[in-house]
Amino acid sequence: MDVAICSSFMPFVHGGGRFIVEWLEQTLAARGHRVERVYLPYVPGPETMFSQMTAYRMLDLAESADRLIAIRPPAHVIRHPNKVVWFIHHFREYYDMWDSPDRPVPDDEAGRAVRDRLVEADTAGLAEARAVFTNSQVVAGRLARYNGVDGEVLYPPIFAPERFTCAGHDDEVVYVCRVEPHKQQHLFVQAMVHVASGVRLRLCGTGLNAPYLERLRALVRDHGLEDRVTLDLRWIGEDEKAEVFSRCLAAIYAPHDEDSYGYPSLEASHSSKAILTTTDSGGVLELVQDGVNGWVVEPEPRAIAQALDALYRDRARTIAMGSAARERLGALRIDWDHVVARLLA
């Protein structure tokens, strides 16, 4: 089958939004399909939102591919007679985050008209699809609530999960992902002020928000945490990442209100490592069960500190929770065979 995978992207920004595209591309190609990855640029903002969506709409791939798989919005508005949407998020500032400070237009007649037209366009694009999948129950819930679309949850796996193994358990709890305010790395640095055990914290990753990076450095410096907190603020390669997960005590993934469980959670699970997250993490809570395959605590430094201490002090339970994390992947059918079967059905 000739499959076009279409997704919006931000040049030079690498992360989950690209992984899902590129791993699906490699997986389909490995199964004998011809695959073309179509990355289209998109710049957020109300001024050009509809004109950019019009450009997506004007794309004519009907005769170029047997199937179109649309992933990151607004790729779902591309027309194709055999379109399947794997919907990973809305433009949330016009949806569930409308009442937040991030709302890009005023809450007046004109602003609400922009919002309503976007919802109409999204709904129309989704209605054209032969199937709509989502990356989490959270996103499926929003599709049902705002667009009246019934999306099937299809959890995105990671590529070549056999890379992630368990080589032991040292004293570090690691947080490996982009370093951005909504990932809440600062809470974990602040928590290290309150820990009473020998647990150590390692933050790995880079980010575009320079003030936030500096804030983390200042937190470590101002609280004298240099001997217990490692800030490795750079892009680390896949091999190095696998090595970090393989030897750590446990892993953290605690974004604020994120749509899906996040690849770091999967990487930790494949490495048989318990996951520490927070009650406000959104889709992560579909994967992490408190006390089973990790800890779910309030997004507050003292509560986090207690969990970090528990991970360190009750090592047997931490190791058992790591094993449970790996088993959880099978229970949720997080594997490529399932994904390919559903997307090409």
Binding site: D2, A4, M10, P11, F12, V13, R34, E36, V38, Y39, L40, P41, Y42, V43, T48, S51, Q52, T54, A55, M58, L59, D60, L61, S64, A65, T206, L213, R217, V220, R221, L225, E226, D227, V229, T230, L231, D232, L233, R234, W235
Partner: protein
């Protein structure tokens, strides 16, 4: 505490239009160009390949308009390699052409192309190319044809085709 952080690099986006599921030499060239740009200290580069069906004349206007409606961010310089990718608006854009679907045509109805399509593409070209800080053509023939087509004054920059000295010259010109 160990703190490391990579310094930010100059981001160069190589942009082209290409057909899907068809071998296209422009894709291979773009990939090699990005590879060579990445080898320059302080530069990172990647390719953005937009779908395009060059054989379908009736789609030309749609595809040209489509590129004109797209926007991009987080890029320091765009290097656009062909039509209609160079119509994507961007302030710091270098255009390096080795062909153009209309350049060289003097008869308004040449090859059956309707006059209206020619006029609209030409208007889009004038708008886009006159705003680009640099326009290069790979051959003298194309350079003259582009001047005739839309009045632009391009510089000559041959495609290197394996010649290391030409590659060095080209990379320097594209980053200047």
């Amino acid at each position: 505490m160990s703190v490391t952080g990579a310094p930010s690099k100059r981001k160069v986006l190589v942009t082209l239009s290409r057909p899907l599921f068809a071998p296209d030499p422009s894709v291979r060239f773009a990939d090699e160009l990005a590879l060579r740009l990445n080898a320059v200290e302080g530069v990172e580069s990647e390719v953005m390949a937009l779908p395009f069906r060059p054989s379908e004349e009736e789609r030309l206007l749609d595809d040209a308009a489509l590129c004109g409606l797209l926007r991009t961010l987080n890029v320091d310089r765009m290097v656009a390699l062909n039509f209609p990718a160079y119509l994507l608006p961007f302030a710091d854009k270098v255009v390096w052409l080795d062909a153009h679907p209309f350049a060289g045509e003097t008869d308004p109805t040449a090859e059956g192309r309707p006059l209206q399509i020619r006029r609209m593409i030409r208007a889009a070209d004038i708008e886009a190319l006159s705003r680009s800080p640099r326009l290069f053509c790979a051959t003298e023939r194309l350079r003259q044809a582009m001047a005739q087509w839309c009045g632009v004054d391009a510089a000559l920059l041959a495609r290197p085709e394996g010649d290391e000295r030409r590659w060095s010259r080209a990379i320097a010109a594209l980053l200047a």
